[in-house]
Symmetry: C2
Amino acid sequence: MHSFQQLVTLFDEQLQTASIFPTTLPSLYEPCNYFLGIGGKRVRPISCLMANELFGDLTEDAWNAAFGVELFHNFTLMHDDIMDNAPLRRGKQTVHERNGLTAGILCGDVVCIKAYQQLSKIKNSLPQVLQLFNTTAIEVCEGQQLDMEFEQRDEVTVEEYLEMITLKTSVLLACSLKMGAILGGASEANAQKIYEFGINTGIAFQLKDDYLDAFGDPNKTGKQVGGDILANKKTFLALHASKQATNKQQHILAEHNESNPTSKIERTLEYFVKTASDKACKDAIAFYSTKAFECLEEVIVPASRKKPMQDLATFLLERDY
Amino acid sequence: MHSFQQLVTLFDEQLQTASIFPTTLPSLYEPCNYFLGIGGKRVRPISCLMANELFGDLTEDAWNAAFGVELFHNFTLMHDDIMDNAPLRRGKQTVHERNGLTAGILCGDVVCIKAYQQLSKIKNSLPQVLQLFNTTAIEVCEGQQLDMEFEQRDEVTVEEYLEMITLKTSVLLACSLKMGAILGGASEANAQKIYEFGINTGIAFQLKDDYLDAFGDPNKTGKQVGGDILANKKTFLALHASKQATNKQQHILAEHNESNPTSKIERTLEYFVKTASDKACKDAIAFYSTKAFECLEEVIVPASRKKPMQDLATFLLERDY
């Protein structure tokens, strides 16, 4: 069995060795290699591999699934960056910013097809894995559509927000885990519990992101507080606060909307606290984290095999950075 | 066995019945239905079905392949329209023009995934079909990349142009045919001949497009002559002419480049004739058409089964509209 960090190292090595993109036609493939090289936490492929190792030694099929899910994730990021008009990702230029709109679209497309090419190499349970993956991929698109729509809408409920982050973020994590489990020979019940572990972990992870953006310690997160506030993002905190706030509180906040950034962040944080939205967010994180750990508990494998996965969940859910 | 027209009618009926897109989330799926409804000639899915019928009764797998290939083709059109800045397709608004850039990208993405969802339903020879399809899908992206690059480049050879249209157009037709054949139980040799039939037919078809744009009868094509000329497209005719032309001829043409459209078209057509590019194009069409019919000839099935496919090839290759 491997730890998270060991798997990250292994994954990046294998990704290099796999030479996913040919050296021909660099105008198409160089931006793909560039973007994949920006890195990120590789949470999805590592989750797939870890779920696979719950049931035995890592299988070749699990590696193909891990490559497929990481490629798919990168495809969605490339296209999301266009839709979000984002010039940077992880501090590096996005593809459409660096190589133009055509590259942003077409490189994304070819990375998506490369994802399917990797998945198609799976030898056991291919139809079952593809069915799960296709359903998930469609849900991810639906989540992105909802996210785009919410930006334009006046009112979004906390429930709608939770549905959106489930589709946009959690289902792909859950799918990665379940693919790894299926390809490790898991029973249907075990595979389903792993999937639910992923859904709950994904939601808790996203809510933690929302919370840390507002109440995190900049010395730990490495980010300025209040990015979401300045971008007027409809996070859990903002949606909960707007539901709880009295008309007077909303009115006072709106008056500060045009003030300088520091003041806007300060007033909004006060407003989050006054409406007990900070507490509601922490409660929600605890709720989904508990559910996640319960699901993992219910996976029937020797307890010793669960150690890396528990460490991963702890890392994802109890981080304060 | 069915004729081309019978299969078109059947395909459009089955596409309706299949309800590919759910009724939920109309902001995402309505533009997909709209675009798929614009129609087109359905050449790829019908080719798939026809190749399937060469070897016996139509199979359910062939229907899923036919849906998959038509969805994939529509995905590429949606994204190509963005890259080409095209406001119209077949006289109707393109998706990005009608619903915005985000819809153009995201609806394309979900249509691509839906293509894979259909293909994943195939029960026999799934790995083989997916491998063929993935390779083809990547080639289509490469063809689009080359097409975009050629627009920016000063010099493109006729050979490079033929490679580009092979990737952008022919391989998907060839893949459709081969999938149908494989799913009909064709031998490897027969499937390969059908694939080559598709490659040659696709090239001849595209060259005919180039030829008719310049020398077609507007009463038959229903289009004004010279659309490609006004758009300064690097067609077979333009590339061949520019290679053959003397410096003086190129110079005279360049002088007319800024003149009024009618005069520009007239001068360019003269230039195509003087450089014998019209004849070279007709020769190339004849060359690839002959190769196509030869490949079809070499498919070993009872001659009577080939009738619809021969009619299709005749329709595609000998049209003057």
